[in-house]
Amino acid sequence: MGDEDTVTGFLLGGIGELNKNHHPNFLVVEKDTTINETEDTFRWFLNREDIGIILINQYIAERCSMRSMPTTLLEIPSKEHPNDAAKDPILRRARGMFMAHDLR
């Protein structure tokens, strides 16, 4: 799930699928794509058994309520928005683990 360039690039890489029922395994998020559309597509991908990892531009994941996400979600940079480690949910959860009294 990403902007046009990110999706085109990864489809070029060979992970795109458009099956006989016209169900794609990708979503190009454009300016007029609503947050609801993005979230609905994300939930649909999550429930599909043939999808193991969901790649999503970090700036798109931020906009939607998908931050409490399963491990199968990987936030990736886009052409105009590099990844910000401070916003990465995995690293934020890990930072919260290391309290001094817990390590005694």
């Binding site: 360039d5 990864f10 890489g13 458009l18 006989k20 193991g52 990892i53 990987l74 990465d88 683990m97």
Partner: protein
């Protein structure tokens, strides 16, 4: 005795977790630095036309050339054991395969794709390998985190039992 064993296990788990986090950070930085894919796409767009490299050219039927293997347990998963596998459809396998081999996505855009588009494909394929490694690390980190929390809970439970014998000796 039990507490000592648990502490040793906790230390070992913590060290592994820190190593995994460091590796994840490094891979994330590497992925962030991979701008050449987008640059190559822009060059291809310049060469072929602004609307010639985009969703309008996507094939009406696509089959993935790579798939993710989800059979490994979190302990086995590691960045060096890539979870991304290339489908055999692209190679000339001797066994009869009724389904057509997945088409190279480069052919969607033009029969003789410009070099910049091929470079973009190569760059994004490398990015996919990085993404697969990062996903494996995320799985291991999450597993390690839950194991760590479990061990910390066990230690908290054991701690009162360790203190109690000392109190009884004082009373005597």
């Amino acid at each position: 005795m039990v507490a000592r064993y648990l502490r040793a296990e906790l230390d070992s788990l913590l060290l592994q977790l820190l190593r995994d986090l460091e590796e994840l950070e490094a891979k994330r930085a590497a992925l962030n630095a991979r701008v050449e894919g987008w640059l190559s796409l822009s060059k291809a767009r310049c060469a072929m036309g602004a609307k010639s490299v985009g969703p309008l050219q996507y094939a009406s039927h696509m089959e993935p050339q790579l798939h993710v293997s989800g059979t490994q347990t979190p302990e086995d998963v590691g960045p060096h054991k890539a979870v991304l596998h290339r489908r055999k459809g692209l190679t000339r396998a001797p066994e009869p395969d009724r389904s057509p081999a997945p088409q190279d996505p480069l052919n969607w855009f033009r029969i003789l794709a410009p070099h910049s588009l091929q470079q973009a494909q190569a760059s994004f394929r490398e990015g996919l390998q990085l993404a697969a490694d990062m996903a494996s690390l995320q799985i291991r980190i999450d597993w390690g985190r839950s194991q760590l929390q479990g061990l910390q809970e066990k230690l908290k439970f054991i701690k009162p039992a360790i203190i109690f014998p000392r109190v009884s000796l004082l009373i005597c």
